[in-house]
Symmetry: C2
Subunit: 191 residues, 2 copies
DNA sequence: TAGCATACGAACCGACGGTTCGATTTTCAA
DNA sequence: TTGAAAATCGAACCGTCGGTTCGTATGCTA
């Protein structure tokens, strides 16, 4: 009997239901208040099914975020300039920072779930490592006289979803104000 | 019978033992791996005693951190310049950022415990609000042509204990490199 | 030393992420 | 069509967490 390689219909169906339920719940309320049990209930599935499909809580979150990140990554690696390769450094940097902010903005509920997993979780996952490396490259190309690696970390940290959510809710900054602030951070030079 | 206003000897003793045990444990290993039960055991008291004395987990952490923060706050508010009032703006800013980094450096284990409490916990507590307001003031005094409030948030975020711990351990940056990076952040101007 | 306020800790609580395991369903070769 | 292996299912369970309850022991005062 060879391995079948074909997923069962109920398994496929449940997997999709879990992803849909989780996405919806994560968007609706604070991630830390959404338990695996909540997701299971919303998806009409047992908790065990979630762990079987995704390993653990973080696996589920990652699976939701991954396709969205892949899209941006594709555009950055091989899309048309200025987001893709080939644009003049200043424009490449500006477009890239803008794209990152947009990505964080649209997915901040999910990204916050990552940040909750542990101290290094935000920086350590593969997607972030790529964003950060690319940011470092584009910063180095425009401001060779500063520590591009540190500056990239600082800008990337300013893009954290929890930080942006805080700026929106507590001091009540607008998205535009945050955008300008990050832009200044990325393009400023030593006094 | 008037209220006695005097703490019982065993209560005083236990309170001190709890603070000492918690400080030691928090310094020794990652905060999230230290449970209230661990602290109780190390202090030779019951878990209930900790909750009675400090309300909840965060109360205990706050009580450890508070006197250390008060010392810096005192120096900033009414100590001699350049950390205290009266120094020229550029020097005041530089000294202040240096002092904040030093404070975070020495207390980063405790501060991380705060960051773990919730998304806004780092920015929302009284001490942080003071640091941030003062940072905004000193930034506004040196770089009037940028959004000082946003920049203050960015610099303060770069000073987060989890960020600094990450920079130290994963990319292996030195304290001096981080110091220079934050200094550049605080003193740079728009291109 | 009597008696009262207060601090004590053992046992308990609900919720969490995660696991176990026997019952059920799907698949596919015969 | 059939029947059994393979894969999925969910109810019940586990250890641990922060936090609470409550009867008992202790320190303090008069």
């Amino acid at each position: 009997m060879l391995p079948t390689n074909k997923a069962r219909a109920d398994a496929t169906r449940n997997r999709a239901a879990i992803l849909a339920a989780a996405t919806s719940l994560f968007a609706r309320e604070d991630i830390s208040n959404v338990s695996v049990q909540d997701i299971a209930q919303a998806a009409g599935v047992s908790k065990a099914a979630i762990f079987r499909h995704f390993g653990d809580r973080s696996g589920l979150i990652q699976e939701i975020l991954e396709p969205r990140a892949a899209q941006l990554r594709e555009a950055v690696e091989s899309g048309p300039p200025p987001l893709g390769p080939g644009a003049p450094p200043a424009e490449a940097l500006e477009t890239y920072v803008e794209a990152l902010l947009d990505f964080v903005w649209r997915n901040r509920a999910l990204i916050r779930a990552f940040e909750y997993l542990g101290p290094d979780a935000y920086y350590a996952n593969n997607a972030s490592r790529f964003w950060l490396a690319e940011l470092t490259r584009r910063l180095a190309a425009t401001t060779p006289d500063v520590d591009a690696k540190y500056l990239a970390y600082a800008v990337f940290t300013a893009l954290r979803a929890d930080v942006i959510d805080h700026l929106l809710t507590v001091p009540g900054m607008t998205r535009e104000r945050i955008r300008t602030g990050i832009h200044n951070l990325a393009t400023s030079r030593p006094a």
